[in-house]
């Protein structure tokens, strides 16, 4: 490597560092505001730095009764939806990968089409349907419609297609039934894909806003994002507390990302790479 290349590399490094600062600044700002008592207005340079740090905002937020409820709602919904997807995407993906049946092409096309449909356009009919089912403002509406998703089916189908078939055939000769083959033989082999799926689904549902927002109404059914978005409504904005609550909402995702970066990235790019 010539000295010129070396300099170029370090210039590039500094540029990337500068961009990184820009990408992470809002995150820094959120945490900084959450740790102070002040409004967070910027009148001079020293206001950009944290001062008078306190964790009192977090204590206030945690000890307020509705917040704990919002946090638990988010957790319950994300966990059940994730569990549902693990079982159902595996089942459907397996059928697409290994079985022949009538209308297979049509049904698989429906998976692709739902993936491409702008979901926001069905908010009105979905609202009416959920009301008619009597699910409005219940956990059912937050969980059941989302327990299987097209991207997950796609992901599992791709993965199972590339698995060797011999193990399944051997198990069948030994007299294992279809369910036993799927859950005892195939499922353990799918662990890497299921991990990608679980994290992906958890993230999406933890952050989900629009559907939980339009399909619930009472305060006790709110998930964290819904509660945060509606918080502004009923009082003048108390930024330090709001930012503390926002940080708590963002933190689980960031922690998951730190540990499962590879799975998260492959889950989010999986749909794209097959094109």
């Amino acid at each position: 490597m010539t000295p010129k290349d070396k300099i170029l590399r370090w210039v590039l490094f500094l540029i990337l560092l500068f961009i990184l600062a820009g990408m992470l600044f809002p995150m820094y700002w959120m945490v900084k505001t959450s740790l102070t008592k002040e409004t967070g207005y910027v009148l001079n340079f020293s206001d950009l730095l944290p001062k008078g740090l306190t964790i009192k905002n977090y204590q206030d937020v945690w000890s307020s009764a509705p917040f704990l409820r919002f946090f638990l709602n988010s957790l319950i919904v994300a966990i059940f939806v994730t569990l549902g997807n693990l079982v159902f995407c595996l089942m459907v993906g397996y059928a697409f990968a290994r079985r022949e049946f009538v209308l297979k092409k049509v049904l698989f096309l429906s998976v692709i089409l739902v993936l491409m449909i702008p979901a926001h356009i069905i908010i009105v009919p979905l609202f009416i349907l959920i009301k008619k089912l009597g699910w409005y403002d219940t956990y059912l509406t937050l969980i059941v419609p989302w327990v299987v998703n097209p991207l997950g089916i796609f992901l599992m189908r791709q993965y199972i297609q590339n698995l060797p078939k011999e193990l399944e055939d051997a198990a069948r000769i030994d007299g294992a039934g279809d369910f036993k083959i799927l859950f005892k033989i195939v499922m353990p082999l799918c662990k890497p894909a299921l991990a990608v799926l679980a994290i992906q689904v958890f993230l999406v549902n933890w952050n989900s806003f629009l559907f939980p927002f339009i399909l619930t109404s009472s305060e006790k059914m709110r998930t964290l994002p819904v509660a945060l978005a509606l918080y502004q409504g009923y009082q003048t904005i108390d930024w330090p507390h709001l930012m503390a609550a926002s940080t708590i909402c963002a933190l689980p995702v960031i922690i998951l990302f730190l540990f499962f970066q590879r799975q998260i990235i492959s889950g989010l790019t999986a749909g794209a790479l097959k094109q």
């Binding site: 700002w29 459907v92 698989f108 702008p118 009919p125 989010l268």
Partner: protein
């Protein structure tokens, strides 16, 4: 032999969800767009194309369409090009490049509600952006960026580019890494410079990813809602009113189900036309089935 019955059971979860929560709402919404639905009595009155005619004369619809189009056309070129540039940069041999890739991606996985709240704070009067503008001797809106008709939509657009660029960077990065290295080696033997290699080796290989990135970003951007709901509620003076926000307002605030469905279907139609045009422009369209 595998039993046909179990095949059906395995498929059942998707069949139920597809029929009940996708197909039914899509069809029901289409039917509703030709009707007036009374929420009190549950009565449906057929009014033909009246909702669609009403829509053509509704100034809010045209404002929403204009704002949404401006948002889509104004963000996608920036997001796409920035994402590509970032992907090329983090694909070079640089210390800590994995760290940069991860860092740029963090906004994409954070809740959009949280991000919109943080930016509301940053855009406020005497907030961070206000400070930057004053520092550069630029005039900033008096009540804050989100409270001025001139700057509200632009502020949301800037935030949107910032949020989404990391995700598309990763997509481009995946495509870049799939370019066969031998092609670069061959170009080197011909003495090709960086730009020639980029133009004749990299770009042709990125074409399918370009289409995909623009396509999904178009579908996503036309549906912008959360940012508007959290930051401006469509204001000030409708300057950030978007199509989905209008659907929400008409359908779930004023309970004009029929009219809201007509708007939603218009949006659906627009997105479909855009998507097909893009596929055509890139000479693709096949290759979706496998």
């Amino acid at each position: 032999m595998p039993k046909p019955k179990t095949t059906f059971i395995f498929l059942l979860p998707w069949i139920i969800i597809l029929l009940l929560f996708w197909l039914f709402p899509l069809i029901y919404s289409f039917i509703l767009s030709f009707a007036k639905y009374s929420i009190l009595t549950g009565e449906v009155e057929w009014i033909g194309l009246a909702n669609y005619f009403k829509l053509l004369q509704d100034p809010d619809f045209w404002i929403a369409l204009k704002n949404t189009s401006f948002f889509v056309l104004g963000t996608i070129p920036f997001t796409t090009i920035l994402a590509l540039v970032l992907a090329i940069l983090v694909n070079q041999k640089i210390p800590l490049r994995g760290f940069f890739r991860a860092g740029y991606f963090v906004p994409s996985i954070t809740s959009l509600v949280v991000i919109a709240l943080v930016f509301t704070h940053l855009y406020a009067r005497d907030g961070y952006f206000d400070f930057l503008f004053k520092l550069l001797n630029l005039s900033s809106p008096e009540k804050g960026f989100l409270f001025s008709e001139k700057t509200a939509l632009l502020s949301i657009m800037l935030m949107d580019v910032w949020v989404s660029v990391g995700y598309y960077m990763l997509l481009f990065l995946a495509a870049l890494q799939a370019v066969p290295l031998e092609l670069y080696e061959i170009s080197d033997t011909f003495g090709a410079n960086f730009w020639q290699k980029f133009r004749f080796v990299t770009l042709p290989h990125l074409k399918p990813m370009f289409l995909f990135v623009i396509l999904i970003n178009t579908i996503k951007s036309f549906q912008i809602f959360i940012e508007v709901f959290v930051m401006t509620k469509g204001g000030p003076l409708n300057s950030t009113l978007t199509m989905v926000y209008l659907v929400y307002e008409q359908g779930l605030h004023k309970f004009n189900f029929g009219y809201a469905s007509a708007i939603a279907y218009c949006l659906f139609f627009i997105i479909m036309v855009f998507s097909l045009l893009q596929m055509k422009a890139f000479g693709l369209g096949k290759g979706i089935e496998d």
